[in-house]
Symmetry: C2
Subunit: 240 residues, 2 copies
Amino acid sequence: MKPILENFAIVLNRPRFPENIGSAARAARNMGISNLIVVDPENPDKEKMHYLATRIGAELIESMKTYDTLREAVAEFNYVVGTTARTGGIRRAVKLPRGIAPYLARLSEKNRIALVFGSEDRGLTNDEIRLCHAIVTIPTTEYSSVNLAHAVMIICYELFMTEIPVNDAPVPKLADSRDIEAMYDHLKQILIEIDFIKDDNPDYWMMNIRRAFARTHLTSKDVASIRGICRQIEWRINRN
Amino acid sequence: MKPILENFAIVLNRPRFPENIGSAARAARNMGISNLIVVDPENPDKEKMHYLATRIGAELIESMKTYDTLREAVAEFNYVVGTTARTGGIRRAVKLPRGIAPYLARLSEKNRIALVFGSEDRGLTNDEIRLCHAIVTIPTTEYSSVNLAHAVMIICYELFMTEIPVNDAPVPKLADSRDIEAMYDHLKQILIEIDFIKDDNPDYWMMNIRRAFARTHLTSKDVASIRGICRQIEWRINRN
């Protein structure tokens, strides 16, 4: 499922603002995509692009290809994905970025894939959508439109995430029961001594404390810290 | 698992550029989050914020709260999530946005949650990270840093996605086998007539065509279109 990120290109169709081109370049590079194509940009001011691309996206701006029409721009790609905010009509079979990402990752093993984004104000026209083999839409509240560079970020992020295991947090090594019970005994003794819990039924009062600690998954280091605090309380009390 | 989005707030700590505040406001609103807090912004130019917030994020800029310190800003929140590009040290137990999102969605049922983002150039300091109950990092290639508003977008998007079924594409109603086989018969007859396949073993030659069509999941409407084309070819041939 590892996507071949070199086989993807971001295609910005008739973008209006060079800042968005720069910002899209940085976003794409963040997620490992290095090919940028623009079609008929309204203002090809490279300085403004670089300002938002930062050092991270600078190479994409330098190696960026420019075409006059979307048809030419996508000619050498095997699979063309269009993005749209509107749905319905010929845009009926829209997919979610998360839904299509694993399929694109798989396709990219042997195919070049163009990810096409329309202009800031009008998006892709129906004629441009017809050039696409699949259409995706970024879900939003009330169908509010997403900034061009943000849209690029989300699509690239979803592709990049196809190869990232989500729950690979290192499993903590917990303290063992003997250490934990010794800690509770120590704590109980202190809490009785400072009159926080009553001598007649201390285990009943300890239950809340046990519950709170049980939720935290104590490690050996945690237990050592708590016992250290207990010892210092004893020391301070006995100094009086 | 539906997140209570009203219980989330975006907290931008010492942001440098008002454009990023505006862009973050739009991104948050796209994903249904309406609370924006800024801590000690370097340049609180509302006009520049509004320019990038657009109409979509305008209300967040108007209702934005400003604090002098992060500690005050998060005081009334029950759970504070910090974002970082760096990992290691006290930032060891970092989580991925996708990994933590379902947990945050669940917490939000009864708790107010602050999503804290550091400044563009320095991120969150260790002291600021200590105020956080959880730390997340956005995965990137070569640990390249993500634009502030892009980071806000990804975190908000992951929360929003917790309530969106990813594969809810309508299941297509496919043509039945009888219609499909009648279509193949019709096609075969035409293809023989135009000498595209040989008369001696037409089913062998039809196999490639069957394979290609089988991959497309033909609907009744598709079958009707293909038969229409076949009929028109016959008509045109017979007119000669």
